[in-house]
């Protein structure tokens, strides 16, 4: 079970992030979670959105370079040390995490970790085997 992440290439120039954000706003794209990875010259805006295909299309139309890739969305109780637990589990199983970011639901006291793996299939198997709850695209839309 994976969800789609949208990545957008952004030069580190004034107004580029705003330009991307305005495309998202004008097309009523619902962002569930996002993070920006930066180098000195450019950044990559990474997002989990309600409608990945439409989001891809509208950003492409606006001239942005975009890409989709599968992420794993793990839902867990929000508590201290949970990142450590997940990371050490992956380490123990020899599964390499590329990066991760999270979403915290204050009402339900649940956290959702979005994880990018080199080998997504292996990671899905591991989490499933260990009884973790992986969210479907529909479930992510509802958060």
């Amino acid at each position: 079970m994976t969800v789609q992440q949208i990545s957008v290439f952004l030069e580190n120039k004034a107004g580029r992030l705003a330009a991307a954000a305005s495309v998202l706003k004008n097309n009523a794209v619902n962002i569930r979670a996002l993070t920006i990875a930066e180098s000195s010259n450019y950044g990559v805006l990474r997002m989990i959105v309600s409608d990945p295909d439409k989001t891809m299309a509208v950003l492409k139309d606006a001239g942005f370079t975009v890409k989709q890739n599968p992420m794993i969305a793990v839902e867990i109780d929000d508590r201290e040390g949970l990142l450590f637990d997940i990371v050490s589990l992956c380490d123990a199983e020899g599964i390499n995490i590329e990066y991760t970011y999270s979403y915290v639901e204050t009402a339900s006291k649940k956290a959702i970790l979005f994880l990018r793996f080199e080998d997504t299939d292996a990671a899905v198997q591991m989490f499933t085997r260990r009884g973790y709850k992986l969210l479907s695209p529909d479930e992510v839309c509802k958060i």
């Binding site: 992440q5 990545s7 290439f9 180098s39 990559v44 990474r46 370079t65 975009v66």
Partner: protein, 432 residues
């Protein structure tokens, strides 16, 4: 198809005789009618009667771009102003523009040499030529126009720019041939792809591209994307505009229309003529122009010539596509670099498009070359380390080819100015 069999396939001995006669006449004409040339000839102690064969051309003085600017606007005129029917100039972005003043005879000549050019790519009266060179002072638009008209083909004088309309015209009118700059042809291909145009289904079959340097790999790219045969054409405002040299159906070297524009290759440092096959600065003398004839114009373009027979049957000397510019050539840490080398490297790399710009700066005492390369979907990754890997990979390939280190920076697509005219490839911020 050979437009002017008699002149284009003339036995070389006959051609030399014709050139000798024409050189004698033009030397006499400029000496008698252009004070600028009279003083140049006199300074070297050379007289028109010293010309006995075409090889005596080496006795004549050179003309530089600065010379042309010094005598702006009418200083090269060899006839009465009333006989001039049209004037073109260069853009003059780096100083006073260069002026080309045409008599009716010159305009007819221009149509002839452009008719030869287009015939090389098989254009006939049956063709519809979309002329996307800029019309106006720039010689590209009208030069191509006169050639298209001379052949009797249908001309769509759309001029440069307005990409959407270019694509519409191409589809609606069924253009079979395209004339524009090579970078604009790629821009059209991209824009057409975005609009969902399948170029393999259009009647377009041939293109004539010039006015900026391009490479063999860019040709492959244009041919694949537009589904046409792409020919390199060459010309310069200082001589006549387009129509000085062009590739024949062999798509290899460019035949110079040397019965009208006599080429030489010289050592740019000493001014001494170089033999066939040796690279040096290209120099042109107009043998038949009436309005503003030019003696031994130093183009600052680097290439070489060959008189080896061409399979197409034309006997005219051939030049290699321009290898670089004596002035556009970048010297970075003592190494000569031509933008075309960078293009070659990029076009060979998977997922990389040849849209690039060079930024040169001096940091401390060191020249720093930064190469901006546009991001493509194939290159892009959500992981920064992969993007950085790509940059390093391009840097390594560039270093292998250029022999100097450069810093590659990925930039957003279409952020490098291009398209309408000449791509702005180099920004040199060094003040030396």
């Amino acid at each position: 198809m050979i437009w002017d069999e008699k002149h284009e396939s003339m036995p070389r001995t006959g051609l030399r005789e014709l050139q000798t006669e024409r050189l004698k006449a033009i030397a006499r004409k400029v000496y008698d009618n252009v004070p600028f040339y009279k003083s140049k000839f006199d300074a070297l102690g050379v007289k028109p009667e010293d010309i006995n064969t075409i090889d005596d051309i080496a006795k004549l003085p050179f003309t530089t771009k600065d010379d042309m600017r010094d005598v702006f606007p009418y200083g090269l005129l060899a006839c009465d102003l009333k006989d001039i029917v049209e004037i073109h100039t260069s853009s003059g972005t780096t100083g006073k523009p260069v002026v080309d003043a045409y008599t009716q005879g010159d305009i007819d000549l221009w149509g002839e040499v452009m008719a030869r050019t287009l015939s090389m790519g098989g254009v006939t009266a049956d063709d519809i030529v979309q002329n996307a060179y800029g019309y106006g002072l720039f010689t590209g638009g009208l030069g191509a126009h006169y050639g298209i008209r001379r052949i009797g083909a249908t001309c769509i004088p759309i001029s440069g720019g307005n990409t959407k309309r270019q694509l519409d015209m191409m589809r609606d009118f069924g253009s079979t041939a395209l004339t524009c700059t090579p970078s604009y042809s790629l821009y059209l291909a991209e824009a057409g792809k975005e609009e969902g145009i399948d170029f393999s289904k259009l009647p377009l079959r041939v293109g004539f591209f010039g006015a900026e340097p391009w490479s063999e790999s860019m040709r492959a790219d244009i041919q694949a994307k537009l589904h046409i045969k792409a020919y390199d054409i060459f010309g310069l405002t200082e001589i006549i505009g387009p129509g000085v040299a062009a590739e024949c159906e062999c798509q290899d070297l460019l035949h110079v229309f040397e019965d009208h524009f006599y080429p030489e290759i010289i050592n740019p440092d000493t001014g001494k003529p170089l033999p066939d096959g040796e690279k040096g600065e290209l120099v042109f003398t107009t043998l038949t122009k009436e309005g503003t004839p030019v003696i031994r114009y130093r183009t600052r373009d680097i290439t070489y010539l060959t008189r080896e027979p061409c399979p197409c049957g034309r006997t005219a000397v051939r030049m290699h596509r321009i290898l670089g510019r004596t002035d556009d050539m970048l010297i970075i840490r003592g190494v000569n670099i031509f933008p075309s080398q960078i293009e070659q490297v990029l076009i060979k790399m998977e997922g990389v498009e040849p849209h690039y710009q060079l930024l040169v700066e001096r940091k401390g005492n060191l020249d720093c070359l930064e190469v901006l390369v546009e991001m493509t979907e194939d290159l892009f990754s959500d992981e920064l380390k992969r993007l950085e890997q790509k940059e390093r990979e391009i840097e390594d390939k560039l270093r292998d080819s250029l022999l100097v280190h450069s810093k590659v920076k990925l930039v957003e697509p279409k952020s490098i100015p291009r398209s309408e005219g000449k791509a702005k490839r180099i920004i040199d911020k060094r003040s030396i």
